[in-house]
């Protein structure tokens, strides 16, 4: 589902004397359907960078990132948009939404984007919000005013609303209590069971052990590692 080869990333800081910083070289990764792979490595090793490149958020300097047959490193914006809509989900650590939109609609959005009608999409959203223990009285409110933990759960609900064949999870269990953490891990297990390829970053070692099939240490891809 996800195949990465020879992936490199550099940042050119034009406004700091044109400094070129190479942050990744020769990254390779394969994730099969139904598999969950954890990215590990010290803080700053490039876990998030790699994940952002897979999502098309960062540009690759060289290499190949093939997801469901599309090379994200070379795809047009339109192709990446379609990929993100149908195939590739991403739960980031931050919730970015249009202010004022009710939580239930924020969560229903990905289903609406793939053509589900409004009520069916909301129904799905309500089920997820209930499962993630977001109190029903909050569903009609914008999540912008929620606590960090609540926002994180809304983000997760949104990420799992549409059954993406590939999922990227950036610290999905951070700042969650035990009960909600268990719900999220169950959601990941379910996604795997239906055949989703999952790439995750988990500081939570126990969670990692529970849901991940393999670990990839991204330190190996740092230019200094001289593999």
């Amino acid at each position: 589902m996800i195949e990465i080869d020879g992936l490199s990333k550099t940042f050119t800081l034009h406004n700091q004397g044109g400094a070129v910083i190479e942050v990744m070289r020769g990254a390779a990764l394969r994730v099969a359907p139904g598999e969950c792979v954890a990215l590990t490595g010290a803080s700053g090793a490039g876990k998030s960078t790699l994940m952002r490149m897979i999502y098309g958020n960062y540009r690759a300097a060289a290499g190949r990132i093939e997801i469901d047959g599309l090379d994200v490193a070379r795809a047009s914006p339109r192709e990446i948009l379609a990929l993100r809509r149908r195939t590739l989900g991403y739960v980031s650590q931050f919730l970015r939404v249009v202010p004022r939109v009710p939580t239930v609609d924020v969560v229903a959005e990905p289903c609406r984007a793939v053509g589900l009608d409004a009520e069916a999409a909301r129904e799905r959203a309500r089920a997820l919000l209930a499962r993630l223990n977001i109190p029903e009285r909050l569903w009609a409110l914008s999540p912008t005013t929620f606590s960090g933990g609540e926002q994180q759960r809304v983000n997760i609900a949104r990420g799992f609303a549409h059954e993406y064949p590939a999922l990227l999870l950036d610290e999905p269990t951070a700042s969650l209590d035990a009960a909600n953490r268990a719900v999220v891990l169950a959601l990941i297990e379910q996604a795997k069971a239906r055949g989703a390829a999952v790439v995750g970053i988990f500081h939570d070692a126990a969670a990692r052990v529970q849901v991940c099939d393999r670990e990839i240490d991204v330190s190996a891809f740092s230019p200094g590692a001289a593999a």
Binding site: T12, H14, N15, R52, L81, R100
Partner: protein, 265 residues
């Protein structure tokens, strides 16, 4: 068999721009602008004042004639150069398939005409002649942009800035256009009013399958509304791509400066 092959809707761009250029004497308004816009896509154009973004928008919307290049718009499955079509036809497109939302609502509204009349004008322009139907559609649209039904006979002079902007949007979208041009649609509005408008625009864009081109200098606005982003400087496109990619991993020196100059977006 020489007729142009019918194109599958999803495979054909709604708008194709090639080598667009507009000069003011020796000075460049915009130059070498090329891009494709697909149905349902929202593209943002950012840049500082004088970067050529408004000139570009004006050329795209047919408000000014480009000096070179093509602005190809899908008319009945065929891409037609709107910069070269007869003015009558271009203006017909402008009041049916296109919409233009001005930064200052009073430029896009008839301030001496009631809200209902403002919304109804485009309907009447394309031949609606039944008062009751026109009024019913105007009411429906006022509802969609969250203007109370009992304000239908009030003039926009009695409306707040945010209401005027919403009325302008209703007036523009009532004929179900396919492409909306927006020039700083949230400029000059209070932050809370902006949010409401953004929400509204996003909902309408998705509901109606609209394509939109939004000129703004507000990176937060494009982050929330635009799928794709074009960065302009001195009349040239310095960078374009996915909105989040351009904002999070800017490649060009100017874009890096632009992103770095803004508070967290």
């Amino acid at each position: 068999m020489n007729a142009p092959a019918p194109v599958v809707a999803s495979d054909a761009p709604l708008l194709r721009v090639r080598g667009l250029e507009k000069r003011y004497g020796a000075r460049i308004g915009c130059a070498a602008v090329s891009f494709d816009l697909w149905p349902g896509e929202v593209m943002g154009i950012v840049g500082e004042s004088g970067s050529g973004k408004s000139t570009l928008l004006g050329c795209l919307a047919g408000h000014m004639a480009p000096d070179a290049g093509e602005v190809l718009f899908d008319v009945g499955g065929v891409l037609r150069d709107t910069a070269r079509m007869a003015e009558a036809e271009r203006r017909r497109l402008a009041r049916t398939d296109w919409a233009f939302v001005h930064q200052h609502a009073h430029e896009g509204l008839r301030m001496g005409v009631s809200a209902g009349g403002n919304v109804g004008e485009r309907l009447m322009a394309v031949g609606a002649r039944h008062y009751g139907d026109i009024r019913a559609q105007a009411l429906d649209w006022l509802g969609r942009v969250e203007i109370a039904a009992d304000r239908i006979d009030d003039r926009p002079t009695a409306f707040s800035g945010g209401m005027r902007q919403r009325l302008q949007i209703a007036r523009n979208l009532v004929t179900g256009p396919r492409l909306v041009f927006m020039d700083e649609p949230t400029g000059g509005l209070d932050v809370s009013v902006q949010a409401r408008l953004l929400d509204l625009l996003r909902g309408l864009v998705r509901e109606m399958g609209l394509s939109a081109i939004i000129v703004t200098h507000d990176l937060a606005v494009v982050r929330l509304l635009a799928d794709r982003l074009m960065v302009m400087k001195d009349g040239l496109v310095v960078e374009q791509g996915l909105t989040d990619q351009v904002l999070d991993d800017p490649q060009h020196a100017y874009t890096q400066l632009l992103v770095a100059s803004v508070l967290q977006v």
